[in-house]
Amino acid sequence: MLISCPYCGPRDLIEFSYQGDANRTRPDRVSMDVPAWNTYIYDRVNTAGDHAEFWQHSGGCRMYMRVVRSTLTHAITSVEPARAHASSARRAKRTAR
């Protein structure tokens, strides 16, 4: 499995560490909504097909990225810096407020 790091280019799987499912929404850090926290911590979509997930290039530039990878074939369709994803989520929240 090769992952194209947006900063370093295509690198072997062994340089990366898996940081889990990116289909979850973390409640606001001061939120007291216990069911929302439980859902965030325990419940997973566990998609069979294209799955959004976070990886860290821990054996390289150490940056985080959001990868869309098929869980049936391991084919990767998109890699983008996790930063972009985080800031768009933050932007969406700011707009909602």
């Binding site: 062994i14 439980n38 566990n46 069979a48 074939t73």
Partner: protein, 419 residues
């Protein structure tokens, strides 16, 4: 159907082995059953067997997408143990162990259960302390456990490098002598035969494609071989739990599917007569009756439904086995394969009624499902027959995560790749 016995062997030997009957029929599915079990793996088959035997429910179909023994029941490393710390797990797995001890007799099928012991090596003093604590917890509820010293281990497994190449010296270990291995295919076939002869229909090549609903209630399934109705539908599909439950509209579950690889070497002469695990990393190894070293390590660590893994874990596992047994370094690998594990968020299984009316769910076995096969079927059958859990699986609910009753054997939190 003829019992397997010395006499039947003798009789068939004289008749040129032409009188053996197939171990189970190949029936077409009926339009309706009392209970449908989705998944003809070890747990599904044992559930069908105990439904028929313990509860007299014989109008049962086991629906299997492929063929019997194709999934994880034929892909595991065959190890059986009950060396757990937490009481919920201890009682459940010890019940399973006791069922294993009588299983060949129970099924009239040789499952080759061999109580060769399972030795966990401690590669640090604190790990040995931890084993002492776990061993005491086990002995407290009547499960056998012994601490072994370095010298005892050296005599027990002469091939072991006690220094692990100098990096991880062995400080001692904990052994459960009643632990061991069984022939996994025979377990599937024995349960299939036992269920079939009690009237259960085992329908192979029958993929479930959807659920029939009456409001919320599940009333049957649609399959590649037509619609089948049932009063109760039990889902027992291990790594495919996510896919099957999505057909019922359940989007999120406390489960992730991961691939675990297993390996077997070419056959060698008798080398080691126990199961042994690497304490500093994660590796478990035994020698099969054919002589091959059977071993496995960690899961690959990312979500996948592909029954094949990647090379970094292969390298990791090989370096571990060579550190333990330098003498195996030039033995060639014969085969490697992958199986899909339903990793739960606390490392403990789920055997429960629901989550929808008319539905029953058995999943979350991580990579410890094989040893649970008898008790899982026994408890799941009880749950299906009585609409209430047996006391052994009462803690294994689906809502324990949201209610704060997780059973986290390793204390790793909700990171399924660490369990």
């Amino acid at each position: 159907m003829a019992e397997y016995s010395f006499l039947s062997l003798l009789r068939n030997a004289f008749s040129g082995n032409t009188d053996w009957q197939p171990a189970w029929r190949k029936p077409d599915p009926k339009p309706e059953y009392d209970v449908i079990i989705i998944g003809g793996g070890g747990h599904g088959l044992s559930t069908a067997y105990y439904l028929a035997k313990e509860h007299g429910i014989t109008n049962v179909a086991v629906l299997e997408r492929g063929w019997i023994g194709q999934g994880n029941i034929g892909r595991n490393t065959t190890m059986i143990r009950s060396n757990y710390l937490l009481p919920q797990n201890q009682h459940f797995y010890e019940h399973s162990m006791k069922m294993w001890e009588d299983l060949a007799h129970e099924l009239n099928y040789n499952v080759m259960f061999s109580q060769r012991g399972c030795l966990n090596l401690a590669n640090s003093p604190s790990q040995l302390d931890d084993f002492a604590r776990r061993g005491n917890a086990m002995r407290h509820v009547g499960i056998d456990a012994e601490l072994m010293s370095r010298e005892q281990i050296k005599a027990f497994i002469p091939a072991l490098d006690m220094e692990f190449g100098g990096r991880f010296p062995v400080y001692g270990g904990m052994i459960q002598r009643r632990a061991g291995t069984a022939r996994h295919d025979a377990v599937a076939w024995g349960y299939a035969r036992g269920a079939d002869r009690r009237g259960v229909d085992i329908v192979e090549n029958c993929e479930v494609t959807g659920f029939l609903r009456d409001g919320d209630r599940i009333t049957g399934v649609t399959t590649s071989r037509g619609e089948i109705r049932a009063k109760k539908v039990a889902v027992c599909v291990a790594g495919s739990t996510g896919q099957v439950m999505k057909l019922a509209g359940i989007d999120r579950l406390p489960i992730e599917s991961h691939v675990l690889q297993a390996f077997v070497s070419e056959g060698i002469k008798p080398f080691m007569d126990t199961v042994v695990t690497f304490g500093a990393g994660h590796l478990y190894v035994t020698q099969s009756d054919k002589g091959g070293m059977v071993f496995g390590g960690d899961i690959d660590g990312y979500n996948t439904y592909a029954q094949r893994g990647n090379l970094p874990i292969v390298e990791d596992v090989m370096s571990e086995i060579c550190a333990m047994f330098p003498g195996l370094a030039r033995v060639r690998l014969l085969r490697s394969w992958g199986g899909i594990m339903d990793m739960s968020m606390d490392g403990t299984p789920i055997i429960t009624t629901g989550p929808l009316p008319g539905m029953y769910l058995n999943c979350g076995w991580c990579y410890g499902g094989f040893k649970a096969t008898p008790a899982s079927g026994f408890c799941f059958a009880w749950t299906i027959a009585r609409d209430a859990p047996h006391e052994l699986n009462a803690p294994f609910t689906l809502d324990r995560f949201h209610k704060g009753y997780v059973i986290d054997e390793k204390g790793q939190g909700s990171t399924p790749r660490l369990h």
